[in-house]
Symmetry: D2
Subunit: 284 residues, 4 copies
Amino acid sequence: MEHRYRLLLSCPDRVGIVSMVSNFISSHGGSIADANQHSDPTTGWFFMRVEIFAESLPFSLERLREQFAPIAQSFQMEWQITDSARPKRVVLMASREAHCLADLLYRYHADELDCEIPCVISNHDALRSMVEWHEIPYYHVPVETADKQPHFDRVLQLVRDHEADVVVLARYMQILPEALCELYPHRIINIHHSFLPSFAGAKPYHQAHERGVKLIGATCHYVTQELDAGPIIDQEVTRISHRDMPEEMVRLGRDVEKTCLARGLRWHLEDRILVHGNKTVVFN
Amino acid sequence: MEHRYRLLLSCPDRVGIVSMVSNFISSHGGSIADANQHSDPTTGWFFMRVEIFAESLPFSLERLREQFAPIAQSFQMEWQITDSARPKRVVLMASREAHCLADLLYRYHADELDCEIPCVISNHDALRSMVEWHEIPYYHVPVETADKQPHFDRVLQLVRDHEADVVVLARYMQILPEALCELYPHRIINIHHSFLPSFAGAKPYHQAHERGVKLIGATCHYVTQELDAGPIIDQEVTRISHRDMPEEMVRLGRDVEKTCLARGLRWHLEDRILVHGNKTVVFN
Amino acid sequence: MEHRYRLLLSCPDRVGIVSMVSNFISSHGGSIADANQHSDPTTGWFFMRVEIFAESLPFSLERLREQFAPIAQSFQMEWQITDSARPKRVVLMASREAHCLADLLYRYHADELDCEIPCVISNHDALRSMVEWHEIPYYHVPVETADKQPHFDRVLQLVRDHEADVVVLARYMQILPEALCELYPHRIINIHHSFLPSFAGAKPYHQAHERGVKLIGATCHYVTQELDAGPIIDQEVTRISHRDMPEEMVRLGRDVEKTCLARGLRWHLEDRILVHGNKTVVFN
Amino acid sequence: MEHRYRLLLSCPDRVGIVSMVSNFISSHGGSIADANQHSDPTTGWFFMRVEIFAESLPFSLERLREQFAPIAQSFQMEWQITDSARPKRVVLMASREAHCLADLLYRYHADELDCEIPCVISNHDALRSMVEWHEIPYYHVPVETADKQPHFDRVLQLVRDHEADVVVLARYMQILPEALCELYPHRIINIHHSFLPSFAGAKPYHQAHERGVKLIGATCHYVTQELDAGPIIDQEVTRISHRDMPEEMVRLGRDVEKTCLARGLRWHLEDRILVHGNKTVVFN
């Protein structure tokens, strides 16, 4: 992958945004590698993503940001420019279940995920050897049921110490405190093992079995203060039948969960996701 | 399709059911065309479906039922034997939306649905010419918002007069009164335009758009007194994106709804569905 | 849908295309409703589609084309500008099988396909009443096995007389002569009842049964002189099992064929498809 | 999973097979856990799979086989009875690509695959540390392009020494010699990285890109002497677009390949697959 800058922006829709942005880029000799726009008629909001060949521009990322800032301001944009040469730092959190963590680590190993993984944090010690085989530090931070705050304090400290850009809850079975969620808006990604909004909360496969559904699913979403209600990034389902008891659904669900989480994380790492209100725009 | 008898049964699980049933059949020279069993460990219930080549048996359907009754009784079976040569009578109900009705009528026309359709009932007159082109009687039974009971009385009378085996709600947008539901247990099939239990009730596509889901779906289920909560026969989903506004979701949803309803009805017509509690066993 | 102009273009990739095009539009006050770009690194070719709100421009379609022509020339573009207010004219061709034709007519009736259907041409008379119920002229043009040319001459004349923009082969089972294909490049759409390139030629479901595949499919493609080898627009598959004999595969395949054809046609009608060499770029 | 015997049989179809088999089982007090039948009208062949609770029978596996042999003979059955308590021994073969091997090892680790893996054989040393982390012996058996026979001789010896029931080619990129294929009929499982019969042979993703298909796939099949032409166990596809260059297709294809191979192997381990001619019956 060549070196690219990625511009993500959203703002109230009006005439001339695309033209102003592409003009700005070409006036500096910049070459557009990829561009996407979306205009949402229900909210009147405009979304855009542009990838620019970094070499085609005569200045640095910082200078690019400076130059673009006045345009952004005049359109009241929420915006960011990232650099493909600076991979995001992803802290993974897990509990006892290995499938999502193993899958992400494998993909990382196979260069499918363009990121750095400075550490894995878990409330159990079960997955240590797998993680350490990948030469990634593993922090076992137990949870005391009586008082979970020390656990979360330590987690936050580790996340900060490792300068995480993103935190991925790879079947980390604890509910994060609101305060922690607020510190990382749209930067904590969770995989919920149901097709939300069906079966939010605990034991979704057992709920699904109880209801007798014919498809089960998983939902990759950003974590917000409201449990299982954050902006949905991706969803995936698989077919089941009357023969599938909850254990079988758990097994089949694992494949759906890991596929869905890996895809959502990949989109996040490639700066393909914009959030507006409680919904995502995914330029994929 | 050769002439076949279809035996459907369910009962508490115990040793020897399959053997007793297959023995009974072969002792009369009966040849099994197809057979399925399922034993549910969570409920301890056993389910079986057998198709027998009718010509291989030396007696009539009535005699077959008489002969089988003692076995059924000894195992406390819920059971039925149907005859593939006697197509079920399906009364279709619709409102103003054509897609499910048009799809079922086309499949009926193309011999994909082994049934008779004695009539179509609608609370609007909009779909009359399409139905009458198929030479099927069309009854327009308007609904008075102030008092819906006369509508339902007339519907029930028509369903009875046409000796319906099954009633299909092909996007008939009224909620059937409990009394009517109870008269036709597991014989009224509805298509709900969401992936239940998500978005039960009205305007599911708008609910789905509001929540920002990435897949939308449809659910084919038997109607019970509790709205949108009956045993699920089949479900289907399709992928959407941020570009899809509710109208687009309605359009994409139509294909999912009609596919799902047609499949569910087909299974019902072929006696492939057993209901136990609020769940279905589908031998397909 | 508001009134829009749709600009489709492709050309050798180089710096400044997006900027030049969006600049041209905004310099005339034009407002971009939707835009997509694609740059193919293997061919060095660039593709773009822009929808412009027609009311935002101060001149007519003809004037827009005139104004854009110099830009197009300077970039050596293949290009077209169409008007959403002028629906394409689609001539449908069928044989004896109803499913694709019935599906397209239903979608046309339900305003899912933004087009006009001036006539249906068939080498059989079987589908006349269905077509005429939709108040569309039906031409029965029989084929003589000994000499098919008179049939094709008459077909071409009808297609011309009805000023077709597109011809859709909705399971029209004849092979068009090369000369006819050449007259309508990328304007004749066929549905092939297999997942090409598997099972090209005749009786694909029987070939699929013979090989024992576990998925069957359909392919919507533009017709070229080489049989079943034109640019692929869309493909779709469905799962089958050992229980499915060829007749069952034909039935299941029908749903795949009609979905795939309708989707491909819809993309064509919305000017979402660009062809380069033997491949399509679909901006959907 | 309770202890079960699994009876697999196929024979010319005739009256009384199910009854004879189920009678035999129940006459010894045997309790049927699961049973499936299939009768193929095109070949006149009958297929059956029965799972029996082992504890319900008064004798051992050997005695069960002895007792059943006369019945099998009288119906000219091809048959086998296996014991769920004796997991199959699976020798995995790989080359340099990790994804299928890593996936199978992870599933093995997570108890999703009921088998033993006595060793992994590869013509490269690249995957050694991953395999050894799982505490499974790794044999690096290089291939000399000039003369591959010594490689295959060593492979066969290792497969024999480890008493393999099944050999899985998890992206092992060599073509096995005919003689070796014949020694393990329906016991060597391969994953081919295309939707066969499309793109058999080398570099299927490049072939697919060249042709411009819109779905790519993978095929899990038993290896026979004829390359890529053995009985198909399972197939899977995923959607691609014009944006996906061959490298992207390789990445997306990996997920399809590993899912498809794991599912096929699982069915084999659970004795769910019967082969007749060049086709499989899969009772899943």
